[in-house]
């Protein structure tokens, strides 16, 4: 109890001043370490050093840089100019491309943060310039980014598989249908939203001749070539998903200097801005890491979940409470560390109730994805706030993203009613 008071009180008092959120999270974490862990605040420094000394994390700045290069060379503008006429008449217009591209990108990247960073760095400036509602853009990007974890390859499935001895191939296969389902529900939501409030997306009733629309496609093939090359480098065994981000940057630079107008100066600007952008996200990760460390070392998440396992409730009540607990914990901890902290309790608990391990993997991936978009610690939200240069505040991004995590909850309900949605494909393939 004292722990929760310190956590929430500390966060409100520090973050409320409007200080950089990373400092608020970090200071709260340091206070918890100091008062609850025998003053073991030195752990904070070790934790920071090990979280950034990570090869896997390097994909995030690489994907940000890739987006910056596309943006500054004019390639992404050409692509959006070409896409625009095609989507003009669909309610919601280009907003749907955010979801579609995030889905596609989810098949390249193993992480939700990379997906939001890569797609967002191109889509936000292009679409806000075209007059789309800013909150709606960032909402769709923050929500769409979460598809990166559900659609394989996925870091969360890899870690889940290794910690619980569950087949990784089956987990990957199980993520596909729910991933596309959630993506489709996102698009349906955007459609409904645009029908009810047409102002969020600029529309034109002037029909564009099909031939002209198709001619526009000549503008986008460099971008298509890039996406195919990045996917190809993974599928073809040239690069791991982490390395593919670096390969993508080099390909983007080549493509953009041949077909776009990338100059040395623009490249330098792209690098400079991606360092700044990565740093403002990175500083948040830094604070979140200290906070997560302070709670995980006390075994807090396990203790919360153990009370559930000892409660003797029925199967679905336990599932419901577990999901609610993840929603709560997901506010304070980033997804993957939350999964590592909780699995030793949740996995035996849920398998003991008769749930399929692969199915549980999908559910846990969805709940930790929700954690990526709930404030105050929601890394997808932060990367988008940073991308908009604080034009759209963290609070507004968070509000705009609420419908997307409600859709995730709906997906959990559907998966509970029809487990075959997740299990059909793995059973077919393995």
């Amino acid at each position: 109890m004292a722990f929760w008071l310190t956590l929430i009180g500390g966060l409100v008092a520090t973050a409320g001043t409007g200080v950089a959120l990373g400092a608020a999270l970090g200071l709260t974490g340091m206070l918890i370490l100091h008062f609850f862990s025998n003053g073991a605040t030195s752990l904070a420094v070790d934790a920071i050093w090990s979280v950034f000394n990570s090869f896997t994390l390097s994909a995030v700045p690489m994907f940000i840089l890739l987006g910056e290069v596309l943006l500054r060379s004019g390639i992404s503008e050409k692509a959006y100019a070409a896409f625009s006429p095609l989507f003009r008449r669909i309610p919601g217009g280009l907003l749907h491309t955010n979801i579609a591209v995030c889905t596609l990108f989810g098949a390249v990247s193993g992480s939700s943060l990379s997906t939001a960073a890569a797609v967002g760095s191109v889509a936000y400036p292009e679409m806000s310039r075209r007059g789309y509602d800013k909150d709606t853009i960032v909402g769709s990007l923050a929500g769409g980014g979460t598809l990166g974890l559900l659609i394989p390859p996925s870091l969360s499935f890899l870690i889940y598989g290794a910690l619980t001895e569950t087949s990784i191939g089956r987990l990957f296969a199980a993520g596909i249908v729910p991933g596309f389902l959630v993506g489709a529900m996102f698009m349906a939501y955007l459609l409904v939203k645009a029908l009810r409030n047409p102002a969020i997306a600029p529309r034109s009733e002037t029909p564009v001749p099909l031939r002209q629309a198709l001619a526009g496609f000549r503008q986008i093939w460099p971008l298509l070539a890039l996406i195919l090359a990045v996917i190809g480098s993974i599928v073809g065994g040239l690069a791991t998903p982490t390395e593919a981000a670096g390969v993508g940057v080099v390909l983007a630079v080549i493509i953009c200097s041949v077909w776009g107008d990338l100059t040395w100066q623009k490249l330098a600007e792209a690098v400079y801005h991606s360092v700044l952008l990565f740093t403002s996200v990175g500083f948040l990760v830094l604070g979140a890491t200290i906070l997560a460390k302070s709670a995980s070392i006390l075994g807090i998440p396990q203790q919360v979940l153990e009370t559930v396992s000892e409660s003797g409730l029925g199967t679905y009540s336990v599932l419901l409470i577990v999901v609610l607990i993840y929603l709560l914990l997901g506010c304070f901890f980033d997804g993957l560390s939350l999964m590592i902290m909780t699995l030793p309790v949740v996995f035996p608990l849920l398998t003991g109730l008769g749930f399929d391990p692969v199915w549980i993997g999908v559910i846990i991936t969805i709940v930790i994805e929700i954690g990526q978009v709930t404030p105050p610690v929601g890394l997808n939200l932060s990367v988008l706030t940073a991308l908009t240069n604080n034009e759209v505040s963290l609070g507004r991004v968070a509000t705009a993203t609420v419908p997307y995590w409600l859709i995730h909850l709906l997906a959990i309900l559907l998966l509970a009613l029809f487990p075959a949605l997740a299990l059909f494909l793995p059973n077919l393939l393995f």
């Binding site: 973050a15 409320g16 001043t17 409007g18 200080v19 959120l21 990373g22 400092a23 608020a24 970090g26 200071l27 340091m30 605040t41 030195s42 904070a44 420094v45 070790d46 920071i48 050093w49 950034f52 000394n53 990570s54 090869f55 390097s58 700045p61 690489m62 840089l65 500054r72 503008e77 760095s121 480098s233 040239l238 690069a239 390395e243 981000a245 670096g246 390969v247 080099v250 107008d261 600007e269 690098v271 801005h273 991606s274 360092v275 700044l276 952008l277 990565f278 740093t279 996200v281 500083f283 830094l286 404030p375 105050p376 940073a386 991308l387 240069n389 604080n390 034009e391 963290l394 609070g395």
Partner: protein, 153 residues
Amino acid sequence: MIAITGIIVTSVLMRKFANSPLHITEEVVGLLLSVSLFLGLPMVTLRAKHVRVALLADFLKGRLHSAMQIAALLVGCAFFFWLIIETIPWFEFAFKRSLKTETSRILLYPWMAAMPLALALTALILLARLTGLLDRVDDSEAGADQSFTDGAP
């Protein structure tokens, strides 16, 4: 950032076409990533580009607003100074023992030095704001004039 890209791609090409993987890639990329983050930290702070929760602070006007700005700077200073104090024994430990990375045996302390240096610079910027040497802009006021994406055509 360029160095990270370069080394990853070289590593991929070496493995594929020369069948001789680079063993330093992972560790060097990790170190470069840390260093670029720490070097970016003072820059982001100087330009007031941090992600923050501005709900209450932006609501207040006039003197209350300034009071809140000072409170925010104090919280920031407290965090950075506390962290700096913690990095001293941490750095000393690595320096005295000449710790090296596991695989490629790269000496760690020159890289690790980036952390206390960056934290100190950042704390200095916050102090300068607190004492009025630098203007007390906060992130929302830094505004769109220097947007991350402004240089785009």
